[in-house]
């Protein structure tokens, strides 16, 4: 019994041992498997991460660098890449009454003393307003834009309550230069008036705002135009002035100025009457500058086949109770070149009469004179053209005649610039643009005049400057051609006001291969000593063109050359020299 029990006991102990061993073996194998599985999992995980990093993850540094340098609002540059408008952290002057602790005085000195010291830095500030702000408990801006040296002077006053936070604002390094083209950005960061408004979306788009937008404007040319226009305006005590320089082959606006201008850097003061753009928004009767367009239409239509044909010019033309007269008596008769040189209304009206209303109107329509000007700016004036009457919406006979010398039709100076570009570039009308255009990708344009007409008009325009009313614009070596226009302004009582004039000069240069059109307009020039008490375009607007062209020519790659000119020898014999309007 004992032996049996002992043997069973031993047997069962062995069995148990064997079981234990097997179990532990299985367990060990399981553990090894689990560990191996874990290792594999980790390995796979690491591999997957490597693949993800290598293939899909963008390098973090590039992103952060690009982001850090991305301006809050895109930059606007001129055609050569000079910045015209950029986001710039500018010091503001902030009054923080809690700077010296919550209780007690907020300033070290009295508010009056501090205000007096601030007045020395900003003479244009309002003393009482400053004192009031400094006395109040509310923090406020004392000034939104402070120059670094002004900030230094204020810092030297030792008032901890006057702080200089750096704020990203829109800054225009050129000041008021090209203000009407650029526009301004208000306190809330919204663009107004010019390209700031047009490009609003693009300038704020994170994908696009990293690259500056290149305008067609050339800053240096803009500077020269504004400078000379300003001088002309001052010398003639004119109410305002406008000027535009246009590339005849691409339609790019190289410079556009409307004076008096405004300072876009002072957005708080920018919204006033001066933001009104006289070049694209204001319509004027531009007078005799229309005569070359009418003559070109007549040549193109075959109405003028012989330039030596003479037209009577000795008495006013009576049409429907209205008489068309000239400024001077130019003799019994004039041929076409003489009519342009002396600027004869009577002869131009006769030519227009021959041309007829339909062709006159269609030419004006083809030149874009009957619709808003083509340019990106939001402010574009609608022209005022004669009312249509008769069959097919034609103009009356009188209207056709007055339009031929630039009365009865009001257009913007930009309309005139585009039309003159068409006149001299071979006859192709192209819309004006403020974006830089690659000459290879210039718009094709639509044909308004034949190339032969354009060539003839270049000769005639050059003759006006060499022998006629445009002598004052004849910049030596630049082969300027153009036409004066002095139009009486319509008076509020009806009819025309004889004492207020719009003096315009429409020019193109160099006439042997025209590249640029220059339009200069003075609004109500007065007779002063500087212009020998003359209000005509020849004495006011002409000299401005004569001074602008030599300044901008070399900048635009046009070299003055006395040995070169357009050949006008076939037309010269037709002209007897004389003075006109």
């Amino acid at each position: 019994m004992n032996a049996l029990t002992a043997s069973t006991a031993i047997a069962s102990g062995r069995v148990r041992l064997a079981n234990v061993r097997q179990r532990s073996l299985v367990e060990a194998k399981l553990r090894v498997l689990m560990v191996a599985f874990l290792f594999l999992l980790t390995g796979f995980g690491a591999l997957a991460r490597i693949v993800q990093l290598g293939l899909f993850e963008e390098p973090p540094e590039r992103r952060s660098l690009a982001e850090a340098l991305l301006p809050p609002r895109g930059e606007i540059a001129d055609r050569n890449g000079f910045p015209l408008a950029r986001a710039f952290p500018i010091y503001a002057l902030w009054f923080n009454p809690k700077a010296l602790g919550a209780d007690g005085s907020s300033l070290v000195k009295s508010p009056e003393e501090v205000a007096a010291a601030l007045m020395q830095v900003f003479p244009d500030a309002d003393f009482n307003d400053l004192v009031q702000r400094l006395k109040s408990d509310k923090p406020s801006y004392l000034r939104r834009r402070v120059m670094p040296e002004e900030a230094n002077r204020i810092f030297a006053m030792g008032e901890p309550a006057l702080e200089f936070p750096r704020e990203n604002q829109r800054f225009y390094p050129q000041g008021s230069l090209g203000a009407h083209v650029l526009g301004f950005v208000d306190g809330e960061g919204k663009g107004h008036v010019g390209m700031e408004k047009v490009l609003e979306k693009q300038l704020l788009d994170p994908a696009q705002r990293g690259r500056p937008v290149a305008l067609s404007i050339d800053m240096r040319v803009q500077g020269a135009l504004e400078d000379e226009l300003g001088r002309g305006m001052m010398e003639t005590s004119a109410k305002g002035a406008a000027g535009i320089i246009l590339d005849v082959d691409t339609g790019e606006v190289v410079a556009l100025a409307s004076l008096p201008s405004f300072n876009p850097n002072r957005s708080d003061m920018a919204y006033n009457d001066l933001v009104f753009n006289k070049v694209t928004n204001q319509v004027y009767e531009l007078g005799s500058t229309f005569k070359p367009l009418s003559v070109a239409a007549a040549i193109d239509a075959g109405v003028i086949t012989d330039l030596s044909v003479r037209y009577p010019a000795n008495r006013p033309l009576e049409i429907s109770g209205f008489s068309i007269r000239d400024s001077h008596d130019f003799g019994d008769s004039l041929n076409v070149p003489e009519a342009l040189i002396h600027s004869s209304n009577i002869v131009t009206a006769q030519i227009a009469d021959k041309l007829g209303s339909a062709r006159m109107k269609s030419t004006m329509a083809a030149l874009g004179m009957l619709e808003r000007p083509y340019i990106e700016l939001p402010a574009r004036g609608f022209p005022i053209s004669p009312r249509s009457s008769g069959k097919g919406g034609q103009w009356s006979r009188l209207s056709t005649m007055t339009v031929s010398y630039g009365h009865g039709i009001s257009v913007t100076p930009l309309h005139l610039a585009t039309a003159y570009a068409t006149l001299v570039n071979g006859g192709l009308w192209r819309p004006a643009t403020l974006y830089k255009v690659d000459p290879a990708n210039a718009p094709e344009g639509r044909r308004v005049f034949k190339a032969s007409t354009s060539a003839r008009m270049r000769q005639l325009l050059r003759m006006i400057v060499v022998d006629g009313t445009g002598k004052s614009a004849n910049a030596a070596g630049f082969r300027v051609g153009g036409k004066t226009g002095s139009a009486d302004k319509p008076s509020s009582k009806g009819g025309y006001n004889r004492t207020s004039v719009v003096a315009t000069f429409a020019a193109a240069f160099p006439m042997d291969k025209p590249r640029f059109v220059v339009i200069v307009m003075l609004d109500e020039p007065q007779g002063t000593v500087a212009n020998s008490f003359q209000r005509t375009a020849a004495t006011n607007a002409g000299p401005i063109v004569g001074r602008v062209v030599p300044r901008i020519g070399p900048l635009l790659g046009i070299v003055p050359d006395d040995s070169r000119d357009i050949d006008i020898s076939d037309l010269s014999p037709l002209v007897r020299n004389g003075d006109g309007e």
Binding site: R86, P173, G175, G223, D227, G477, P550, P560, D562
Partner: protein, 267 residues
């Protein structure tokens, strides 16, 4: 025994694991260090670019068209160039020249001498006032042999070999005279060689060897320092004149030795 072997093996694995972890950690640290370096470099790039932008804007603002116009009106008065200031191509340039007329005098031609010879004589190489050794300037990177030699030439040499070098037009090397000297030339050579070597003696004694001295200065030197090592110098000068090529080197060595002696004596 087996158990201990297992234990050792597992301990080995553990150590290996630890090592791997340590290496991974080191790698991770290095990666992070590099990352932070990149980050710092980036921040610096951003700061610099912004600085550049500020400066550029400030420049544009201060030199804007209106400001430039005011400056031009007040200060410079520049005007736009006119047609006479332009030339269109070589043809127009050539048209400006006038062909020679009859009886036109020949253009004056000036003979040019290699002025480096004179330059090296009048303004010998700069010598350090402390060490007495010739200074070669950093800008003097012209690797032509003459240039290097001139830079190394000290004042004593310059003066002693002046005549020889003036005698040669192109060859600057004082050790290889291009012509053989006659007896009379040798005699003439001795006389002018005396003065400069006195100056050398004086200059080296006072430790001011770096400036060029005129004859006047030499005389002053003679008066101030009559007890210079005249005999040795004279002898050296004579030898220099006699057998230029071989003996000049020896003479120079002697001059330097004399100079050192003097310096010791005075120092």
């Amino acid at each position: 025994m087996i158990a201990s072997a297992n234990r050792v093996r597992s301990a080995g694995w553990l150590v290996l694991l630890g090592l791997c972890v340590a290496m991974v950690l080191v790698l991770a640290f290095r990666v992070n260090a590099l990352r932070s370096q990149i980050h710092r470099a980036e921040a610096r790039i951003i700061a610099l670019k912004q600085d550049k932008m500020y400066l550029e804007t400030e420049f544009e603002t201060r030199a804007n068209q209106q400001q430039l116009k005011v400056w031009n009106d007040v200060e410079f008065g520049y005007a736009a160039p006119d047609a006479s200031q332009y030339l269109e191509g070589e043809r127009e340039l050539a048209s400006l020249s006038v062909p020679d007329m009859a009886n036109t005098p020949e253009p004056i031609r000036v003979a040019s001498m290699d002025d480096r010879v004179i330059a090296s004589a009048a303004f010998p190489a700069m010598v350090s006032p402390l060490s007495g050794k010739a200074l070669t300037s950093a800008n003097d990177t012209d690797d032509s042999e003459a240039q290097v030699r001139r830079a190394r030439m000290d004042h004593a040499e310059a003066v002693v070999t002046l005549k020889d070098r003036l005698g040669t037009v192109v060859e600057v090397a004082p050790r290889k005279p291009v012509r053989t000297e006659t007896v009379s030339e040798k005699e003439r050579a001795v006389a002018p060689a005396k003065k400069p070597e006195k100056k050398v003696a004086k200059a080296e004694v006072s430790g001011k060897v770096e400036t060029a001295k005129s004859d006047k200065a030499n005389k002053a030197g003679k008066a101030n320092n009559p007890k210079g090592d005249k005999t040795k110098s004279k002898q050296a000068a004579k030898e220099t004149a006699d057998k230029p090529a071989a003996k000049k080197a020896k003479a120079r060595a002697e001059i330097r030795a004399a100079g050192r002696k003097e310096a010791k004596a005075t120092g």
